[in-house]
């Protein structure tokens, strides 16, 4: 188990959002996935900062797109999970599942 496989709460959310977004996993799409699914306000900048950190840890990789097809269009980074990223998700969710295992349902059921 590499040290980098430990991820924080928000990092885990970002990793899961990348998995949800599939081929369209760029900053805003990831931010919107998290906002829609969790209902909490997520700063676009926080997502980018986290993506950078995850890339440093080798959990995700990205390719830089061609500029958007509009005047002044910018290049975007599209992210994918690396094998280590997939491992980190499994590891975190597995840990969580094992911790929850055997607890009374009113503690574990979503509200």
């Amino acid at each position: 188990m590499a040290k980098g496989d430990f991820v924080g709460d928000f990092e885990l959310l970002v990793l899961l959002a990348i998995a949800h977004a599939g081929d369209e996993a760029y900053g805003l799409a990831i931010q919107q996935q998290i906002e829609q699914r969790t209902g909490r306000i997520v700063a676009i900048g926080a997502v980018h900062a986290t993506l950078g950190r995850l890339a440093d840890k080798g959990l995700v990789r990205y390719r830089v797109s061609e500029p958007q097809p509009i005047p002044g269009g910018k290049r975007r980074k599209f992210y994918r999970l690396c094998p280590a990223g997939v491992r980190a998700i499994r590891h975190s969710t597995g840990m969580l599942a094992r911790m929850l295992n055997g607890l009374s349902p009113d503690l574990t059921e979503p509200q």
């Binding site: 760029y26 900053g27 805003l28 931010q31 306000i41 700063a43 676009i44 900048g45 926080a46 980018h48 900062a49 986290t50 950078g52 950190r53 958007q68 509009i70 269009g73 910018k74 290049r75 975007r76 980074k77």
Partner: protein, 881 residues
């Protein structure tokens, strides 16, 4: 298709600065895309979203940016730990130079507090929608007559026609705000209140339902119907402590008792601008002038039908106006109607004032930032040796930059926090001191939006002030620092940098000083305008004659005369008069007339004058001179010949060819002979040209509206109390209110000018102080850092006078850099002030005066350091390091 909405530039700039270089395009692309989506919900919502997103995004991006640019050496240390180290170090430094830290914090906190306060007021005035259902549909209706311009009022019958004919309007409602008098318990002094007379449509157009009790019923909108009132929510809470049992109780209004039938919801406090205390049903007899096509006296609002636009409503009103012009050519021929968004119409009049305030405070904040920036730069320059040493033993540029950022942000967050705390009270003071009333959409409060704005302001200020130092810090290398010490002179680039800041401060200060100067001149020249009467030693009191005394006109005038006589017999009173309207109080009677025998039309196309019904003593009490002929006398009563006194302006305009005395005019279905000519006097504004005025004997045109003018040096409050005692003998239901010296009324009419002048000149003086302190600091600093150079020059035989000239010249050069852009900007601001009619004075003279004052002040400020420079002892200087 409209172009895609653009992310606010300040947001883009902040994000660009905070993001790691590698991530900038993708962060900005995301923000642009998301912002475009948010814009569908409206501009205000999108800006709010943007402010929150930017505020939340900057900290993680900055942290990330600093981590990315860090060298591997410090990578291991925890971010938080280094941050804490930086904070502790910064705090230690602040303790070592407490004056620098404290003055920075005070200057920035003041700036941010003022800016936040203005932002919060402006947000409630301009950005927040009116607190009524679907506020965008509410419109203000106005009447436009080519000769007189536009008035936000409609004729009562015209309004009726528009209501039935316009398909683009769901409703048209009329109202009239006026002063009333009220007494809750018998025996207590009467109180002046603002009464909104509303027609039966107003509540439904605004969509307000009573919070308590009931609305008015149809029978109450009939003339002679029961007297009822609704309390506004604010008045109910302030006057009756929010007591729900008050509904059903009776109040003593000037006209008689009135029953409280309900309490309005808080939203109604926001309409019209400044709100009102009571609503009463708008009623008038069928014979009233309000019921004739000729009069335009009632305000009007409407509600757009769903789907209708201002343009379609305007087009339809055009059609209706043409139809009415054909049907009633005598009154409606030149009449058109206008429609505008209600909120925009309400805030329109305060826009120039708010822009002025915002501009002045933004300039002051910028000056403070520039000042702090040069201070930080000089301060950091002194620490160049320390930084060079740290760089030499391995600190990366990023590490040093972070240290500087931490220090700057620490200073600014302390200042920002203090500013945010001060902003609330400051905003309340601003609203309370504002001359007139602000059309606020809600109470001024520091909500999330305002606090975000304050946070962004603080961050922007910190960036502006900190960036130059941090950019410069790249150059501090050990070699350079040692060389600097060896050479003993400040780096040219540092001097250029601080010089630029001084120029910027000077330019902005000149603009502020110029603005303050012209506004102050405008106010002082206004205060010295002669009103045409003597406002000193005259006390004004409004009297409300009960309805039963008004039924018979002769009896009513007799009551008015008795009141006047009672006032004149009070101790310390030299004389008293009564009048229907008095100068510098609301209300006037503007009317058409014609020279007898001429073919002029009486009405909107003919000559126009103001008519003042006065008792004979008016001219003596007010010291209005009778230039020729005679004043009005007690003999000019209902049985006498119809006579008037006119002012010089009237005489000149109506009888340019002959003596006006003995001339006759047609007015009010009678022929009037001019018996005297009075001096011109101002009645509404100290600025306007003298209107043609006509003074008419009260007995010949009796009206219930009564003002008493009392010639006495005694305080108004004492006079009104004593007169109320005497009035009881005449009729116990007579209510007296609005007791105020005439001088005070005059001063109140200049209140907006005084307010503008006071605010801008205060800000300008602070700006001048900051700019001069900045200049002094820069010059003194450059002298200190050049001590060795100056010493060598003196040793080589340069004369002290030449050194002094050089130092002063340096200061003046820095000044000149700001003088030219400042002068140009001042001129632009001046043109705007004139076009917004905030200023009436000679701009060129003011500009020249301000520029000269700046040069003199600059030279004076540089004199101290110049003197010290010329006294440098070469031996000491060379031993300096």
């Amino acid at each position: 298709m409209s172009p895609a909405p653009v992310l606010p530039r300040i947001a883009a700039a902040l994000l660009w600065l905070a993001s790691p270089p590698d991530d900038r395009p993708s962060v900005l692309a995301d923000f642009e895309e998301a912002y475009a989506e948010q814009r569908h919900a409206g501009r205000g919502a999108a800006l709010c979203w943007c402010a929150i997103q930017v505020a939340l995004s900057i900290p993680p991006l900055l942290v990330r940016r600093l981590r990315v640019t860090r060298t591997p050496r410090t990578q291991g240390a925890s971010m938080a730990a280094t941050f804490l180290t930086d904070v502790r170090y910064a705090a230690r430094l602040a303790r070592r130079a407490p004056l620098v830290a404290l003055s920075t914090i005070a200057a920035i906190a003041g700036g941010i507090a003022a800016a936040t306060a203005v932002v919060s007021v402006m947000e409630s005035v301009f950005l927040r929608p009116l607190p009524f259902a679907r506020p965008d549909e509410l419109v203000q209706l106005s009447t436009i007559i080519e000769r007189f311009g536009s008035a936000a009022e409609l004729n009562y019958l015209d309004a009726d026609d528009i209501r039935t004919q316009a398909a683009t309007l769901d409703g048209v409602a009329q109202y009239d705000a006026g002063a009333g008098t009220l007494r809750v318990h018998a025996g207590e002094p009467a109180q002046s209140v603002t009464v909104l007379s509303v027609d039966r449509h107003l509540a439904s157009v605004l969509r307000v339902a009573p919070a308590l009790g009931r609305s008015f019923e149809s029978a109450e909108f009939v003339d002679g119907g029961p007297d009822v009132v609704m309390l506004t929510n604010r008045f109910w809470r302030e006057r009756f402590g929010g007591d729900p049992a008050i509904v059903g109780a009776s109040l003593e209004m000037g006209s008689g008792p009135a029953m409280i039938v309900g309490v309005l919801p808080p939203a109604a406090d926001r309409f019209p601008s400044g709100g009102s205390d009571l609503w009463t049903p708008l009623t008038f007899p069928a014979t009233s002038f309000l019921n004739q096509r000729g009069s335009i006296a009632l305000s009007a609002i409407g509600r757009l039908h769903q789907g209708a636009t201002l343009d379609s409503a305007q087009a339809e009103l055009g059609t209706i106006a043409r139809r009415l012009a054909t049907a009633y050519p005598e009154t409606n021929a030149a009449r058109r109607f206008g429609v505008s968004n209600l909120q925009r119409a309400m805030v329109g009049p305060v826009r120039p004032m708010m822009l002025l305030l915002a501009g002045a405070i933004a300039a002051l904040l910028a000056i403070a930032c520039a000042n702090i920036a040069s201070l930080l730069l000089a301060h950091a320059h002194e620490r160049a040796g320390e930084f060079a040493l740290r760089a030499a033993i391995g600190a990366s540029h990023g590490r040093l930059a972070r240290q500087l950022w931490t220090e700057t942000l620490l200073l600014f967050s302390a200042a920002g926090g203090l500013g945010a705390i001060l902003a609330g009270p400051l905003a309340r003071i601003l609203v309370a001191r504002y001359p007139g009333t602000l059309p606020l959409s809600s109470d001024v409060s520091l909500d999330v939006r305002v606090m975000t704005a304050s946070l962004l302001l603080t961050l922007a200020a910190a960036f502006t002030a900190g960036l130059p130092t941090i950019r410069r810090s790249r150059q501090w290398r050990i070699g350079a620092a040692l060389a600097r010490t060896a050479r003993g002179s400040s780096g040219r680039s540092t001097r250029r940098g601080t010089g630029l800041f001084v120029s910027a401060q000077v330019a902005l200060s000149i603009v502020l000083l110029f603005g303050g100067f012209v506004l102050l001149r405008t106010f002082t020249s206004m205060a010295s305008v002669a009103p045409g009467f003597d406002p000193d030693g005259v006390v004004t009191i409004r009297a409300t004659i009960p309805a039963r005394q008004r039924e018979d006109a002769q009896r009513m005038v007799a009551v008015q005369d008795q009141l006047r006589d009672a006032a004149a017999s009070l101790p310390g009173v030299a004389g008293a008069a009564h009048a229907m309207f008095i100068p510098f109080a609301p209300g006037s009677w503007g009317d058409g007339y014609r020279r007898a025998g001429s073919s002029d039309a009486i009405g909107p196309n003919g000559p126009f004058a103001h008519f003042f019904m006065v008792s004979p003593e008016y001219f003596r009490v007010m010291h209005v001179p009778i230039v020729r002929g005679r004043p009005l006398t007690a003999a000019d009563d209902e049985g006498g010949r119809r006579v008037v006194v006119v002012n010089q302006s009237f005489a000149l305009r109506t009888f340019p060819d002959r003596d006006a005395i003995g001339g006759r005019i047609d007015w009010n279905d009678d022929v009037w002979e001019i018996v005297g000519i009075a001096g011109n006097a101002r009645h509404e504004s100290l600025w306007d040209d003298f209107d043609p005025d006509v003074y008419v004997p009260r007995h010949q045109v009796p009206r219930g509206n009564t003002w008493l003018l009392i010639a006495s040096a005694r305080p108004a409050s004492a006079l009104v109390a004593e007169l109320q005692q005497r009035a009881r003998a005449i009729d116990p239901a007579i209510l007296l209110s609005d007791a105020e010296p005439m001088r005070q009324r005059l001063a109140d009419s200049a209140a907006p000018e005084r307010f503008r002048a006071a605010i801008t000149s205060t800000l300008a003086l602070i700006a001048l102080g900051l700019a001069l302190v900045g200049l002094n600091g820069v010059v003194a600093y450059s002298v200190v850092t050049r001590t060795k150079e100056i010493g060598i020059r003196l040793a080589l035989g340069e004369r002290p006078a030449a050194v002094r000239r050089g130092v002063v010249g340096d200061a003046l050069r820095a000044l000149a850099g700001g003088l030219i852009p400042g002068t140009i900007a001042s001129w632009i601001v001046g043109r705007w002030l004139v076009s917004a009619s905030l200023v009436r004075t000679d701009l060129r003279l003011a500009l020249a005066a301000v520029a000269c004052a700046f040069v003199v002040a600059g030279a004076a400020v540089a004199a101290g350091p110049a003197w010290r420079a010329s006294r440098v002892d070469p031996v000491d200087a060379l031993r300096h390091d």
